[in-house]
Amino acid sequence: GESVGLHLPTLSVQEGDNSIINCAYSNSASDYFIWYKQESGKGPQFIIDIRSNMDKRQGQRVTVLLNKTVKHLSLQIAATQPGDSAVYFCAERGGFQKLVFGTGTRLLVSP
């Protein structure tokens, strides 16, 4: 079946560093991927998405890279700030309007 996994459950970085959160997916037919940020006690918040016909997309301080050859997705956060501390989820579209989520990576940013 479809599955989405994350390589690291917890990532600790210093404020100002760049952060890279990785995600592996298993369905080579997936055409859409999305990253969410979830702060403690809140619902997931959309960060950035990418379609399978692209390999890179940039937002404000965030970049998503897609490597379809090895079925790998990554989220890069530039100049990480304490407010970036949260759990980050990747998800792939696994069928009609359905998303398959990874288990999440916790990002800890220390001053």
């Binding site: 619902g43 009609f96 288990t103």
Partner: protein, 112 residues
């Protein structure tokens, strides 16, 4: 701004009670979803609806039902709550011509 609201942030119920979780979106979205979120398991889809009065089972529908009488409202029903339904419940909505699901703040349900 996109807005999805859920009726309660925290809820405590007893085993065997009937529980209603309400979700409302103000974006005129066709699609709505209910997930549960558990540590180490991520988000799992319980049910979704792509139109009024339409519903589809997700990956873990057992023990749950849903109701979509109006476009803006999607209710999750636990017919007889059990302790293994203690979880964070998240509602999301999605416009038919887009790909991004927008989530509500979640309801943390504890079943004693």
């Amino acid at each position: 701004d996109v807005k999805v609201t859920q009726s309660s942030r925290y809820l405590v119920k007893r085993t065997g009670e009937k529980v209603f979780l309400e979700c409302v979106q103000d974006m005129d979205h066709e699609n709505m979803f209910w997930y549960r979120q558990d540590p180490g398991l991520g988000l799992r889809l319980i049910y979704f609806s792509y139109d009024v009065k339409m519903k589809e089972k997700g990956d873990i529908p057992e023990g749950y039902s849903v109701s979509r009488e109006k476009k803006e409202r999607f209710s999750l029903i636990l017919e007889s709550a059990s302790t293994n339904q203690t979880s964070m419940y998240l509602c999301a909505s999605l416009a038919g011509n887009t790909d991004t699901q927008y989530f509500g703040p979640g309801t943390r349900l504890t079943v004693l």
